[in-house]
């Protein structure tokens, strides 16, 4: 299975938003969810301008099948102003038939390799030094996903970091030193 990974730019922005929101013609989903997709599109456009890069999409035979999304830590509220740290907000492969086949790991490794070499406008032209991920989806509504979440990122070289600032006090922060 040959997966190609591309940075999200204004050109393929719709491939990213299309992976996490239903189509407008899908009447079984709420209008506000689709509107959330429009807000995301607007935000990503601004984020690309501000940070240079904030997401990558995986393609299989030209079709978008998954993505990884990430932002500089200083973009997040309630966190101390951590320098040169990138926080992953989401790694998502919507199709169950494509999950568990290493696509998510390819996305994570692509990000790691990219950040090792890339100077980022978000860090005044310097490289990131650390990647972190909090408890995505685990603290709100999906506690059963925590073991899978940890296993996935630990397998990709992340380590538990109890010293990482955690305003929630819930723990589970994993980091990767670049």
């Amino acid at each position: 299975m040959e997966v190609k990974i591309q940075d999200v730019t204004n050109r393929n922005l719709g491939d990213l938003t299309g992976l996490c929101t239903p189509a407008w013609e899908d009447e079984s989903h709420a209008q506000t969810l689709k509107e959330g997709g429009l807000r995301k599109r607007d935000w990503i456009t601004r984020a690309i301008q501000m940070f240079g890069i904030c997401a990558k999409v995986a393609y299989l035979r030209g079709k978008p099948i998954g993505f990884i999304e990430f932002y500089p830590a200083h973009a997040f509220p309630l966190l101390p102003k951590l320098d040169k740290t990138v926080i992953i907000t989401c790694v998502f492969i919507p199709s169950k038939s494509l999950q568990g086949q290493g696509i998510g790991s390819e996305l994570v490794q692509s990000l790691i390799n990219d950040l090792r070499d890339r100077a980022l406008p978000a860090f005044s032209g310097e490289k990131a030094e650390q990647i972190a991920i909090g408890s995505w989806g685990c603290h709100v509504g999906f506690p059963e996903s925590l073991p899978r979440f940890q296993k996935f990122f630990l397998a990709n070289g992340f380590k538990e970091d109890p010293t990482f600032p955690d305003p929630t006090g819930k723990g589970g922060i994993l980091t990767f030193e670049l």
Binding site: A30, T32, R39, L78
Partner: protein, 113 residues
Amino acid sequence: MFKDSWQMRDLEAKVEVFYFGCCPWSYFFGYGGGFLDKAWTKTGGDYKAELERLGVEVVEYNMLEHQALVEKHARSIDPFNPFSNYVRFLIDDQEISKEQFFEKIRQLSEEVH
């Protein structure tokens, strides 16, 4: 009709929705998503329209772009969780609980009728 009623009473009803711009689900959950007020909507889709129909001012804040407001008003959110969201219910600039808010505007709506 309801909007005129609010204006006549010089009452300002406002809902502030704090959401993560990176996640459509955060926005959806902020507008209910079946959790905010189940009596009004199961999907969240009608909730926003219903608020606007009642003349409630709706203000949206992408938390990635309004950090100071999050620090001030929405400290309970989880910055690591893109689903996270927060909603403030205000009558005349005073934050009240969701239950009090809906009770108040329903009460006023009944009075108008």
